[in-house]
Symmetry: C2
Subunit: 206 residues, 2 copies
């Protein structure tokens, strides 16, 4: 998988390519070009060809990419040819929204457990899932070998919760709290921050 050899900035673009390819596939389209893909995702065709060529030869000059094949290869490369169990920590509005989000299945993820520390929420159901007490989190995460968590607690408790998750074996955290997390090497954090997306657009507004 040569994780060390491919720059992370390229890895970050692969999910965007995969999403675009899956949408083309849903519309019954079988082949695409770096030009077409580039127009969909807003990245130059040259950059797309360069990124994808890091992982081997996929497209043919003149005939483009076979979409089903490229989807399968990208799923292999990104390790989403299986379903990962993911937990949610913090069942406020955002935690509920994520627990009910129907975009995870078929893209490699399944919300398997949700946690909160509010006695009024513990034991309640969100869809099929019961909200568990955070006090039981370390044990449950270890038992189920959970590696991935989404963190939707307030900023004030995000670092403490991240520390607990990491002690329980979590290696990847998707952080919705508006703070930077300190994590040891070997643990990955991604931030969901609506403001960075808004700022990317205001650049173009008068």
């Amino acid at each position: 998988m040569n994780a060390e050899k491919v720059p992370d900035i390229i890895i970050g673009r692969l999910p965007v390519y995969l999403r675009a390819l899956q949408r083309l596939s849903e519309r019954g389209i079988q082949t695409t070009s770096s030009q077409e893909l580039g127009e969909i995702v807003g990245i130059s065709a040259a950059q797309i060809r360069k990124d994808i060529s890091q992982f081997g030869e996929f497209g043919k000059q003149g005939t483009g990419y076979a979409i089903p094949f490229l989807i399968e290869r990208l799923r292999d490369i990104m390790n989403v040819n299986k379903v990962w169990d993911v937990v949610i920590v913090g069942m406020g509005d955002m935690g509920h929204a994520l627990a009910r989000y129907n975009g995870f299945s078929e893209r490699g993820f399944r919300v398997s457990m949700v946690f909160d520390n509010d006695p009024q929420k513990i034991g309640q159901k969100v869809g099929e899932l019961e909200i568990y007490d955070i006090a039981s989190m370390t044990e449950k995460l270890k038992q189920n070998k959970i590696r991935i968590a989404m963190l939707t607690v307030p900023a004030t408790s995000a670092q403490e919760m991240a520390d607990q998750l990491i002690k329980a074996g979590v290696k990847a955290i998707l952080n919705y709290a508006p703070i930077s997390l300190n994590v040891p090497s070997g643990v990955r954090v991604q931030y969901i921050d609506p403001v960075t997306h808004l700022q990317r657009m205001t650049y173009y507004l008068d």
Copy 2:
């Protein structure tokens, strides 16, 4: 502002640099280097220097970047040296979470109106904001010259709502629905998709 000259992929990195600089600034740090910034955001120092140099000369060889100055310049470049009114369409869990999110202020945005079409929600309050009827949206957006919207409706109604927003003058849409929107040129869309962030991390997991 030379919007046409700088590739959008660079524009997309500026908010990430700005966020990192603001966090350094909050800790009282006055100068930084492309190396330090690179470690924080996970982008190479060379790339950062190249990106920032698109907009002029900022750093000095050996002394690095003056953080307050670079923050101000980036805010100018991205048009967030003022406060933009933003509306939320769809007051489900995600809409509520965004309406209550406290990361907008001081970063250029203010949620000024929220909309839904559910009679049970219309007229309810979320913080200081009353939920307005979507039927009144076009008129209210035009009156208030709203240019930016966050779309948190179900996938099935996202395109219809986007069309309404655009007719009312909206030029930038942050879309939380898991579908691609068709928009005319001159309108920008950004997607918030937790799965792309998760997939970027599973690449590194065994």
